[in-house]
Symmetry: C2
Subunit: 304 residues, 2 copies
């Protein structure tokens, strides 16, 4: 016998929307991915997109509550849900839910952190993944690789502070729109090139080369035939991912011994390789961390 549906949970980001039908205890009964990220919804018709995604589930279970996290709650989304400030736990995020009138749908706020220099940082959607990965209310370091990687210090299930690293987007911009990409051959992952990039990033610790300087080596190693052209793209990727790890260690004020990696399989594999090389134990979060986190927010808000 299948558990009865209790919640529609949406991880609604910039480029895609992942929808979950959830039952008691946070079990995922059904899930689907839709190309309906907020930048892809025509004319900003979020109500139409929501019905297309959740309509059948709603029809089968009238009155089912729905909760969405991610960029849908941003200024560019359906309705703005102001950020909950760090340290932020389930309670703070649950208090910040914003209702979409007439839809039986609430949007989760993102989380912000203002650093010692007064500079803000933001996440939207990652907080749900973190709450899912740390469902036991434990502590640790969460790493969410991506276009804008996030590192978060989690303490007793709450997000104490976090930092964004523009690793993925910087890689795309540098390989696609600078001279560096000119010598690249192919897009296949090259393990040797990647490892070398990670190793070169580690020289940062010794004060040998900042990033604006070091990135130029993705060209000169090719020019001097010190690396084969099909290794250069992975070299730059390893350099940037390795650099992120070094920057994050400085941000944490210690070398991390263990991290929890949350995110897509392919990208996480590269990060896991980099962590292994740097002697950091990387544990993979469950694939449906976002769904479980959304369930926990809904429970904290009394929706389920």
């Amino acid at each position: 016998m299948t558990a009865a549906p209790a919640l529609i949970a949406l991880d609604w980001g910039t480029t895609s929307l992942r929808a979950y039908l959830m039952g008691a205890g946070g079990a995922v009964l059904q899930s689907a991915e839709h190309p309906l990220g907020i930048l892809k919804v025509e004319g900003g018709d979020f109500a139409g997109a929501f019905r297309a995604v959740a309509g059948a589930w709603r029809a089968a279970s009238p009155g089912l509550p729905a909760l969405a996290s991610g960029m849908i709650g941003s200024r560019q989304g359906w309705r703005e849900a102001p950020y909950a400030e760090c340290p932020a736990g389930l309670d703070a995020v649950a208090r910040g839910l914003v209702e979409i009138p007439g839809e039986n749908l609430v949007l989760a706020p993102g989380v912000s952190f203002i650093d010692a220099d007064g500079v803000p940082d933001v996440m939207r959607g990652e907080e749900a993944q973190i709450f899912g990965a740390f469902a036991d209310g434990g502590s640790g370091i969460a790493v969410l690789p991506g276009t804008h990687s996030k590192w978060a210090e989690v303490e007793g299930g709450r997000i104490r502070r976090f930092a964004t690293f523009m690793t993925g987007e910087a890689f795309a911009a540098l390989s696609g729109h600078t001279i560096l990409g000119r010598l690249f051959e192919g897009e296949a992952f090259d393990a040797g090139g990647f490892a070398r990039g990670v190793a070169h990033a580690a020289l940062k610790q010794k004060g040998r080369g900042g990033l604006l300087h070091r990135m130029f080596s993705a060209r000169t190693l090719g020019l001097f035939n010190k690396a084969p052209p099909q290794a250069l793209r992975s070299y730059l990727s390893g350099l940037l991912i390795g650099w992120e790890i070094e920057e994050a260690a400085a941000w944490l004020r210690r070398k991390p011994l263990e991290v929890t990696v949350i995110g897509g399989a392919q990208l996480s594999a590269a990060y896991r390789a980099a962590f292994k090389q740097r002697g950091v134990a990387a544990e993979a979060a469950p694939a449906d961390a976002a769904a479980l986190g959304l369930w926990r927010i809904a429970a904290a808000a009394g929706l389920v």
Copy 2:
């Protein structure tokens, strides 16, 4: 009475070509800029481009020798002039001249530096500018701002070592091809935003934020209305130029007290503002440093 022409000197780069007709002692008699950088010469007809630029001078002074520096001597140029390795002075560069048969034209080699980690760095054309700016055979730190900024330690007129920083190209890629540019309004220089970027870069010294993290602030300061949208572009520019200065100080293993800035007026103004803010005395090199450097190379090679 005008001095007799003695040399045709060409600063022949990727996007443009600056040509000088020079007389005794290195005086510039005439000069012209042509949109004939090596990537813009149709069909790679460098001989045709050379005649278009120098033909009239040659006709008026038959037998006049010609010397070109820059990317024209690269693998993508007319003929490759292999790099002279650091430490490199006039003598080393003069020894590496490569002849273009039948044209009475020689190409200057670029200069390379292999760092302690075995990673090469390269320059082509900047060495002539440095030899021009340090025509007295003195010592100091040369800074050549640009798409690929170069910092060189000059000792007794020789280039002891140098480093490339991809500041200009990283700025273009990040503002034009990442989310950062989305909040930018206008392209006018904003002195306040620029200064704030330089100040934030200086936090690097205190271990507060690496570049992959810090660049995200060009978005979040806008999101939180902590900076006006028309200041954000200059903020990112100041952050990157400031970052280059911090990286270079680490590379030099000391904070520079004085530098010689060689390069275009507009860009140099931004660098001079950043240097002033960071307490570094920045002296401007003469505008025709490249011509003088080419003259000195020609003299060392016995061409004039």
